[in-house]
Symmetry: D2
Subunit: 147 residues, 4 copies
């Protein structure tokens, strides 16, 4: 199972800890973590996953190396276009905070029928709002959205 995590390249301390916990839980449950591979929420989630020995995939907008916690880096060079790939490649998407980039990932995920779980993120019809990392990851693993 592949779980995508979306969120801002800058993260508040609270968002950083939330994302790190989400990453840990994804890895503990044996799932692969996909994300945009840069800083902030993306880095925190990867860090958490690697702390538990998990596999992390960064689908980066540029052609460099991404954050230091990536097992695998996909150098897309697509700019914002890479958001579409993150959203499409997850069996579920967990959105943590985030701004318009995150919103674009949520939109594409919902468009393609991928269940989306939100932690203090955009309140869009179709997103299942969750209260804790545990709830979000549990539901993502079950693959049950509202759709």
């Amino acid at each position: 199972m592949q779980i995508a995590v979306a969120g801002g390249a800058q993260a508040s301390p609270q968002e950083y800890e939330t994302a790190r916990a989400v990453g840990r839980l994804i890895a503990e449950n044996g799932a692969v973590l996909l994300c945009g591979g840069l800083g902030g929420v993306m880095e925190a989630a990867c860090r958490g996953a690697q702390e538990q020995g998990g596999t992390t995939v960064g689908i980066i907008s540029g052609t460099g190396d991404g954050n230091p916690f990536l097992s695998i880096v996909i150098r897309t060079g697509l700019g914002h276009g890479r958001n579409v790939l993150v959203a499409q490649s997850g069996d579920a998407l967990i959105a943590i905070g985030g701004s318009y980039g995150t919103l674009s990932e949520i939109a594409i995920a919902l468009k393609t029928g991928c269940p989306v779980f939100g932690l203090s993120s955009w309140k869009i019809e179709g997103v299942v709002m969750c209260k804790t990392p545990e709830e979000a990851v549990k539901r993502a693993l079950e693959g049950k959205g509202s759709g």
Copy 2:
């Protein structure tokens, strides 16, 4: 000036007429109309623009021909990835109704600083809600969003 129009591939009769009026006004003002090049709102806007002798560009998701009212067709083959190109290529974006695909275009436009004007569309922070095609096109031509 290039104005992008976003909206569903299926349109209600009301949305169709709104989009057609938007297309007419864009052409009357000498701007180029960009869109996803398929049916529904996209077709209606192109139709309106061509009725006024305007130029229409369809940035299509596949590699076919798009709707019958295109002056130029860009065959991206990118699937939903083409939404990013529509949003980035407009000097302003007018969103008419629409579902998650339209939401992704709004999100990318706002992310990249492109002003967005909505007609019965997603109420997202940063979108300037307009009441008529005239208002939306006028403001888009002025390039004044809320940002």
Copy 3:
């Protein structure tokens, strides 16, 4: 009809004049010129086309403005990924000189069944080598490759 022109972002004086002549001939024949929208061969072709009152479309790799001779700019932000769009969007492709980027456009065009005409460019099976801009544009307009 839409004719794509491929070639390097740096052009020798000879390549520049060849590309400009190709652009002029495309416009004189009422076809739309598509290209990557940057400098060198791309700029020369657009310049020639606009000198004849033609329409030019630049499918650029970034999100800026492209060269000064574009009627329409598609801001893809896709990096080298935009080469695929240029190759797919032309009804025929004319390649002028060029390096590996041009080769990628030739390859995608041939892959998708688009006829390719070469002027001092890559000698790849499937490319119709031409001796003059007149021959290349004439054959491109006829849409007759070797395939």
Copy 4:
């Protein structure tokens, strides 16, 4: 280290065995195998790598599941545009046989400075032609192209 493998979606028995051997060697040396994730050469390479317990990443053109030997699938939906991602994401590229799609991957790899090693593949300036899977993988791991 990430090694990309390019080749046709249909493979001759000879190409299939070559690709499978390449995949085995990549995995034995602890590198990650990247490819387009579909059949033929891509499937054979992934199969070989998984036989040695390696990690395989399929960057697929559609949004489905790819071949049965993928550890991770990136659902790009980009059509031929995904070739650019394969070429850019490898630290080296090994091309096995192949037609125009493979040529496009070779071209983008060379464009971006990624060393390319060929096994009965396109003879393009810059490609290091190799005689055996062992030679190709050894040189790819050393990262030494002709460039």
